[in-house]
Symmetry: C3
Subunit: 148 residues, 3 copies
């Protein structure tokens, strides 16, 4: 659910790490989290009105996620990515790609998409399906679910 | 635990969705989260002192929860609720009521209430019980617990 | 993962409460959460550069965690601790110590330490081990995991 840079790193580190040791991994993206799976060039929607800044944030895409604290107007995530490269640690983009390559299933939240006026076309093609909460609960049965 | 508007929507969407497909659902409200189950007309407590603003926040009730980001002084939750109505998606109030109607169990955190000087009378009558963490852990045994 | 004062209270309340009723409890500290297990007198690292404020925050230690909202420049956690003492509720320090005394296992995240240039010496001696995500997933198998 969170659209924070550091929490997105946590999501894709856990997902790729779990998939690498053969867990079946499903991620349910909702609300701010939909930002992580937007196409690079999103379309403008709800173009005007008071809520536009809220929703246009969701158009920013994975490259513009803020740090959950000490964001410094977006400088920290850039510097953090630089540091991760320098230390030879996988960056957010690499963890994201590894999750896809290792077969992690990506699902988009039907209700959040409906509220925000988004369609499946607004997301990267790797999205497996658009789901409601009840269907996702079924998928997670017998496993563990983390809310991030 | 969180008192954010968007996270409260997540809580009651998950709770009502799970209860609708016959899961046994328990919610443990603590700290900022107690705001969701306060009576509409709360009493003033700890009336003065430096911490009053912190605790009076808890008196605001479910109608005044802020958005976790881009809150705009409370405008965003109002606009969001308007948009949810327009899109025919259940609002926070409706999800909350659905959770109650579908038999979700609400518990209030004993320790947080003690620290904040709250009693069971400060909460809506639908609260099933006041619990400590150990008792709640027992309730969640064999299931899944999400920290929101 | 979170370095908030109130979330740290949640972590150590849950951990000590669960350990008290004989659960096997493991905490995996990562990113901002590493702040909770730093030695009181941390060393300065990455001494200059734009990211220094971010990383030096991690040197603040458990005594300087901010409240997740209404922090008032650090006043709220101090006042909250005073109130917890007055109400005879365990403070963060006491919950932390209880977790150690009751045998909760503390693990530090290998990747976050590597990115931040930290070594095991920067942490309290009670840290059981430095782990990667895959190893921690193995430890949590058959149990429940909360992301806080």
């Amino acid at each position: 659910m969170s659209g924070d840079f550091d929490k997105a790193i946590a999501v894709f580190t856990l997902a790729s790490g779990a998939a690498a040791v053969n867990y079946d991994v499903n991620i349910f993206f909702t609300f701010w989290g939909l930002n992580s799976i937007k196409k690079k060039k999103g379309r403008a929607f709800l173009g005007k009105g008071l809520l536009a800044p809220v929703f246009n944030f969701l158009l920013g895409g994975r490259k513009n996620l803020p740090l959950s604290r000490l964001n410094f107007g977006g400088a920290s995530p850039l510097l953090m990515t630089g540091l991760m490269k320098k230390r030879n640690v996988a960056t957010l983009e690499e963890l994201f790609q590894a999750s896809i390559d290792l077969g992690v299933n990506f699902y988009a939240c039907e209700m959040a998409m409906h509220v925000l006026g988004l369609t499946k076309d607004d997301f990267i093609p790797e999205i497996k399906d658009v789901l409601g909460v009840a269907t996702f609960l079924k998928l997670s049965q017998g496993g563990q679910t983390l809310f991030i």
